[in-house]
Symmetry: C2
Subunit: 438 residues, 2 copies
């Protein structure tokens, strides 16, 4: 029989068991933290109607959609979790309570050309808070608190949540009389880190016809440094007579102060006036998070405040604020760089290893261990004893409970700690206590 | 601006927050139980290469595949989790330990015509144990133990795990000299409950040209009743001289005995000789699980033993045994029938409600609650107090911590139990203990 070559598409992450266990650990931290902050779970279909997807999409992303027909239906795979959120809130508007605080963790799809570090199928882990008509600024301060908690629990070293407010730079641009070019200027500034100051200067001056002196002013402005208090003080002292600018400065001041009260460590939150986020969608606070370890490239988490979530689907005004963690890309970098390592390929805490065949006594012990809440596996195959222990080693299981004739007669197990090598003959209850670390 | 109508495809389940919280409860029970039995997590892509999918598929299912191209790639959405498992085991064969015990919980896609109770996107929750060359029969006994634990935790009333062995009926058919018709006969028997005995008799006699007396014998055979011991005794006493038959009887006897030792209650496990499962794929033990509550139609969980998992992709012989819970369909029936009800739309245990604006004291309390492990939400909007309490009621949150000037001065909160209506002024630590039920 001719075989089909077993393979998957490039750009789709698939993990070995030990890696998957590790991935799920991070996924669980995110989910648990989101719920700790009272965000409710949401799950939308992977497949959406194409017109729903295409109502809220840029030209560049359009080409990346996996689009197809089935019968008369024109369909596509979701490319983010924000469009489904917008569609959902518009669709169930009357059945939801506002502010609507939801999280969604799920795979999204972008059929771009695969390249290192880019995925076609990847996890987004989103939180958003959507208001009905209005949404208090205190919500902008809670988002960094969630991210701060997630990355503290991740325990991947120091990290910085960079925060900015698009009103500030927009106000500066207003004051220069270049209001019509705001989106292009913000997009150029967003590329600073990637393409460097000189190229951005050229973009501003040549592509956008900004006066040389003004371009200089903008570039100098976004490079203002200092701690949060110092930056805010400088911003307040600038003589920029623009209402939007003043609003942006007062917003960022309040958001930073409240975020600290929400539990964000001062050292983890930093105003950075060059953070612009590419999407014109954002209208106020914007966030990006970076790990200090330079093995992790780029932002691991981004988001911001928007004025209106779902105007493609409804007339309701739905302002919101949210953020998304790109877990697939982060995890892939963590693994590739060796920052994290597979420690076990087993979710069981104990493996029951029969000396000979699997007796009913072995099964009963497994049942008792499991009922005591201990994840338990039984080695079922009639292999040589050495092969059974080698399996335990390769799986990286912590305890092995060996059962032979003698143990069965005494209703005991020989409990071996695979790390220390210690082994002792104990009854089942003692084994349970040992394994549970009591 | 013209609006796109916010909607989803028929046959895709999408839930409101309270329903989603409930759904996730069942999902978590399944995941936790699978891990308690030492199954490792697996996650394969939603999108597979079309030739990989089509290598292992029946003609009927082919039409249901969501198939599409992207660039030069011919792709499809996975329609079950077994084909991806087969592809995975063949692909990573040298990196896996055997027996390979994995679970996968994920969405699969079948673009059939939508009808009540049928879904186009639905969860499968699969466990399988795959051996390298051989796989001990004790594994067939562990599967019902997992299912038994899951449905005990589900707490949806009594349930029965029906068990059979396809070798028994195949052996009987052999003994009648109709070996070549085994698959068709089993498929006909599989329809017994659906189409009734008379129609199956006609299928056997007219479509499959089975002698009337033999058809009678088969139909009588599959209706043998009694408890497990009685049925096994009857099977052993039949004078059917066929090796496969004898093997089937001895297997089912061993599997039932070992399943009981693995912790399955006698009352939850029942031999039923009419359980055949449609797929010719199964070669030995087969399972189906039903709830006794007749509001839940059909089997909620099915599976069995197979001789070779992945012969479309590899020459390795990979026998296995597994089972799948169809959670989407079960959940939809539970909700529609009123067997389960939404109790809360909140994952938070406490909502902090400021009498006036959200002060920094409110944010600090939220931080302390969360650090103590209490899922906490803050009501952020500047609404009337009555509206805030109405939100708490509608969300179904258990505790409300009211904070006004007086509370802030005393560093206390007015903690209100929304169920009992009790309210008391307590400091933050006492509030934490109350909420945690200490």
């Amino acid at each position: 029989m001719t075989k089909v070559i077993p393979r998957i598409q490039a750009g789709f992450m698939e993990l070995l068991p030990g890696e998957q266990i590790l991935f799920n650990k991070y996924l669980k931290i995110i989910r648990d933290t989101y719920e700790e902050f009272g965000f409710v779970p949401q799950e939308t279909p992977i497949v959406e109607n194409a017109d729903v997807l295409f109502a809220e999409i840029g030209e560049d992303t359009k080409k990346e959609i996996y689009r197809f027909t089935k019968g008369d239906d024109d369909l596509g795979l979701r490319f983010d979790l924000t469009v489904p959120l917008a569609r959902y809130v518009a669709m169930y508007f009357n059945q939801l309570q506002f502010p609507f605080r939801r999280y969604q963790i799920g795979k999204v799809f972008r059929g771009e050309r695969p390249q290192k570090g880019r995925f076609r199928e990847f996890y987004q882990c989103d939180i958003d808070i959507i208001g009905n008509g209005n949404l208090n600024l205190v919500n902008d301060a809670e988002i960094p608190a969630v991210i701060n908690r997630v990355f503290e629990k991740f325990d991947l070293g120091d990290f910085t949540i960079f925060i900015n407010n698009r009103k500030i730079l927009s106000g500066l641009v207003n004051s220069l009389g270049e209001t019509s070019k705001i989106d292009e200027i913000l997009r150029a500034i967003d590329k600073l880190e990637k393409i460097g100051q000189e190229t951005v200067r050229l973009m501003l001056v040549e592509d956008l016809s900004i006066k040389v002196a003004d371009a200089e002013k903008i570039l100098k402005f976004v490079k203002i440094t200092g701690n949060n208090k110092e930056i805010i003080k400088k911003l307040e002292e600038f003589e920029i007579e623009d209402e939007l600018y003043r609003k942006g400065v007062s917003e960022i001041k309040e958001v930073v102060e409240k975020a600290i009260n929400f539990g964000v460590s001062e050292k983890n939150l930093q105003i950075d006036l060059s953070i612009a986020r590419g999407l014109s969608y954002y209208t106020g606070t914007v966030y990006e998070t970076k790990l200090l370890d330079d093995r992790i490239k780029g932002s691991v988490c981004g988001g911001g405040r928007f004025d209106n979530l779902a105007d493609s689907y409804t007339n309701q005004r739905l302002p919101g604020v949210g953020v998304s963690i790109g877990l697939t890309r982060l995890f892939s970098q963590l693994l590739d760089s060796g920052m994290i390592k597979v420690e076990t390929s087993s979710v069981a805490k104990v493996l029951i290893v029969p000396m000979d065949v699997v007796s009913n006594f072995c099964l009963k012990i497994a049942d008792e261990f499991r009922k005591a809440g201990i994840p338990t596996e039984v080695y079922t195959e009639e292999d040589k004893f050495r092969k059974k222990l080698s399996y335990a080693n390769k799986m990286g299981v912590q305890y092995v409970a060996i059962v032979g004739d003698q143990e069965e007669k005494e209703k005991k197990v020989a409990l071996k700690n695979m790390l220390s090598g210690e082994q002792e003959l104990v009854d089942v209850n003692s084994a349970i206590n040992k394994i549970k670390g009591k």
